[in-house]
């Protein structure tokens, strides 16, 4: 299957120069990855790991002080090659919403509170769809029906809708033009559990229906386990591991992934969960060598000086760790028992 997005050695830094003091924050440092047609690619990472900077580059929302200093990201929209890092504003305008769209976090801040939902649809979709009048509204109503929304929401203001409905409306806005590539940035983080599951199911159905590729960003590993086909883990600006979802959860090959998977609490299991010591590194002065080494239980001298490359360790499975062979999936038996059951 061909790839819709190819990212090669992408480096995007925040370059700041105030009063003669220059600072660079290496938010995206040498990321190489591809996204296939018709797949959901999950990106996991904690706050300030550079995942938002990365998707800003992918969404062609590069504003100073963020600058792409090396590498490229190339979309292939049915033969048309577009590099968001270099494309002209005219080209970007032409591909936005029609080919490349974006579902944002916090639906309340996306929708204009003083405009009815229908106005938002006009603003977003009328031009890319190239339809007008009746044809346009028929298309929008059909699409809303797919999202299990009644056409009445078009007349509503954002505050009149519940959080789950608003998030469905933003998904509707992002998918109404049937784009080939959708970037979803924490679309379910603010939602309650019942609604979250519903919205995830909807997003996956619509993705399968319009056959688009999705980059799904969230720090919640449980969401990735249920929606993503492949998952990439970003730590301190670097891609440290990438694999098919099942492989990543069953046999992680980077200690950070191993920790993320092992620390998920589960109902029916009361064993003590390990907590990772230390704090995420400051991207302005990242530690030398592997950026995870100050917190890594497996760190050796080599990790402190040499940067481990992202190498293929198994079929469709890449990891950046000098000791990736020794990373064991943290088996339940390895975890110490909890104190005696209470009450």
């Amino acid at each position: 299957m061909a790839d819709i997005l190819t990212v090669q050695g992408l480096k995007a830094y925040y370059l700041m120069n105030y009063y003669g003091i220059s600072r660079e924050v290496r938010a995206v440092d040498d990321i190489t990855m591809t996204v296939k047609h018709n797949e959901i690619y999950g990106i996991a990472g904690e706050s300030s790991s550079g995942k938002t900077s990365f998707i800003k580059v992918l969404a062609a929302a590069i504003r100073p002080p963020l600058e792409v200093v090396a590498g490229s990201a190339v979309y292939d929209f049915g033969g048309q090659q577009v590099d968001p890092t270099t494309a002209s504003p005219d080209v970007l305008k032409q591909i936005r919403w029609k080919h490349l769209s974006y579902i944002m976090q916090g639906s309340m801040s996306v929708l204009n509170p003083v405009r009815r939902i229908e106005k938002s649809f006009v603003d977003f979709a009328m031009e890319p769809l190239g339809l007008s009048g009746k044809a346009f509204w028929n298309r929008v109503r059909d699409h809303l029906a797919h999202l299990k929304l009644s056409p009445n929401v078009l007349r509503a203001y954002p505050h009149e809708l519940s959080g789950g409905m608003r998030q469905r409306v933003t998904i509707g806005l992002a998918t109404v033009c049937h784009p080939e590539f959708i970037i979803a940035d924490e679309p379910t983080t603010a939602l309650d559990v019942v609604v979250q599951k519903d919205v995830l199911a909807l997003l996956r159905n619509i993705q399968q229906e319009i056959k688009s590729s999705v980059v799904f960003v969230t720090h919640d590993m449980a969401v990735h386990a249920n929606i993503a086909d492949r998952v990439g883990i970003i730590y301190a600006g670097r891609l440290v591991e990438e694999a098919r979802t099942r492989d990543l959860f069953m046999s992680p090959r980077h200690p950070y992934t191993g920790h993320l998977v092992a620390s998920l609490p589960r109902i029916g299991d009361t064993r003590q969960r390990p907590a990772l010591e230390g704090r995420p590194p400051n991207l302005a002065e990242p530690p030398p060598g592997c950026r995870f080494h100050p917190r890594c239980p497996l760190a050796i001298d080599r990790c402190r000086s040499e940067v481990p490359p992202l190498v293929t360790v198994a079929e469709e499975h890449r990891a950046a760790c000098w000791r990736s062979d020794e990373v064991r999936p943290v088996l339940d038996a390895d975890l110490p028992r909890n104190r005696a059951e209470v009450s």
């Binding site: 996991a44 904690e46 706050s47 959080g163 309650d192 559990v193 019942v194 979250q196 599951k197 519903d198 995830l200 199911a201 996956r204 720090h219 919640d220 590993m221 449980a222 969401v223 990735h224 386990a225 249920n226 929606i227 993503a228 086909d229 098919r244 979802t245 099942r246 492989d247 990543l248 959860f249 069953m250 950070y256 920790h259 993320l260 998977v261 620390s263 998920l264 609490p265 589960r266 109902i267 029916g268 009361t270 003590q272 969960r273 390990p274 907590a275 990772l276 010591e277 704090r279 995420p280 104190r339 059951e341 209470v342 009450s343």
Partner: protein
């Protein structure tokens, strides 16, 4: 057994709308539970947004007044006036921790100033050294030291460290009860378990009662002793945490459990909605006006319709 905190038939009703279209919404309906002084525990309140869990916490803290019913602390009603000896004593015993550490701290104020003012207000220190000792003791309990925090502004600490400072701030006055309102929802995955394990060690090692408010069933199962599950202001199920979460009985509790995303079968996500449970819990909610809690043989309470 002495009752530490008694919540008795507490209702909270908020007025809605203007003078002509007066309406009411019930945020908390008939909440009732007791914490025992001799048995420190993690008591969890679970519910979705709008279920009244934060309103209940605010009433326990005395920041809001119940419409009817009473909350007593060591036999005395919780003081709701912000002045006076009684309020001061109460605050020394019951302390809150809030959801977002970045919003709880003023970005222009050094973090140790918060600990310092709490120490000065509640520990009646006689010297600078005594204040520092009180601050350091509290920080050591949460795995930090005064040297790490002194003189730092909130942006210089990570989210996990900041949340631990917020908990240390609450611990400065040696409280008996800590009310933690969603303390981990804004904290990163790798730091979340550190905070959750910390709450556990507060109970086990320092005998602090923790009222843990959350919508995350998995961490609730991991640390709680007892839980209550709230739906639109009503407690629908209450009992020992393990018992309730392993085998919930009320349709809404079952719906919540069914909606927790499982990682057992990663890569083959099952996202089918539990339609029958949604219908059943809506039906229970519609008829909830005359419902009441019924004790089950296994020790839990489940809301049922007459």
């Amino acid at each position: 057994m002495t009752a530490l905190l008694e919540v008795e038939h507490v209702y909270r009703r908020f007025p809605m709308g203007g003078i002509l279209a007066r309406d009411f919404t019930d945020a908390v309906v008939d909440a009732q539970f007791t914490l025992e002084k001799e048995r420190p525990e993690i008591f969890t309140i679970i519910g979705e947004s709008g279920s009244g869990k934060t309103t209940l916490a605010r009433m326990i803290l005395g920041l809001d007044v119940p419409t009817s019913g009473q909350i007593r602390y060591l036999g005395r009603p919780v003081p709701t006036s912000m002045w006076g000896r009684a309020r001061h004593d109460f605050m020394a015993r019951v302390q809150p921790v809030f959801q977002n550490p970045f919003e709880a701290f003023n970005p222009l104020k050094r973090v140790d100033r918060y600990l310092e003012s709490t120490a000065t207000a509640f520990r009646a220190p006689r010297s600078r050294a005594e204040i520092d000792r009180a601050m350091d003791e509290a920080l050591v309990k949460v795995g930090l030291t005064l040297a790490e925090v002194k003189g730092r502004y909130p942006h210089e600490l990570s989210g996990g460290q900041l949340q631990r400072c917020a908990i240390a701030r609450a611990l400065v006055c040696d409280p008996e009860v800590l009310i933690a309102d969603e303390p981990v929802s804004m904290v990163d995955a790798s730091l979340r378990m550190a905070i959750v394990n910390l709450l556990k060690s507060l109970r086990d090692d320092f005998g602090v009662h923790v009222i843990y408010i959350t919508h995350d069933l998995a961490t609730a199962y991991y640390i709680s002793d007892r839980i209550i599950i709230m739906q639109k202001g009503r407690v629908v199920e209450m009992g020992p945490a393990r018992l309730v979460l392993e085998n919930p009985q009320h349709p809404y509790a079952r719906l919540l459990k069914a909606s927790v995303l499982s990682t057992e079968n990663a890569g083959h996500g099952d996202l089918a909605p539990a339609t029958d449970l949604i219908a059943a819990s809506d039906e229970m909610l519609a008829k909830a006006v005359h419902s009441h809690m019924v004790e089950q043989p296994d020790g839990r309470f489940v809301r049922s319709n007459p």
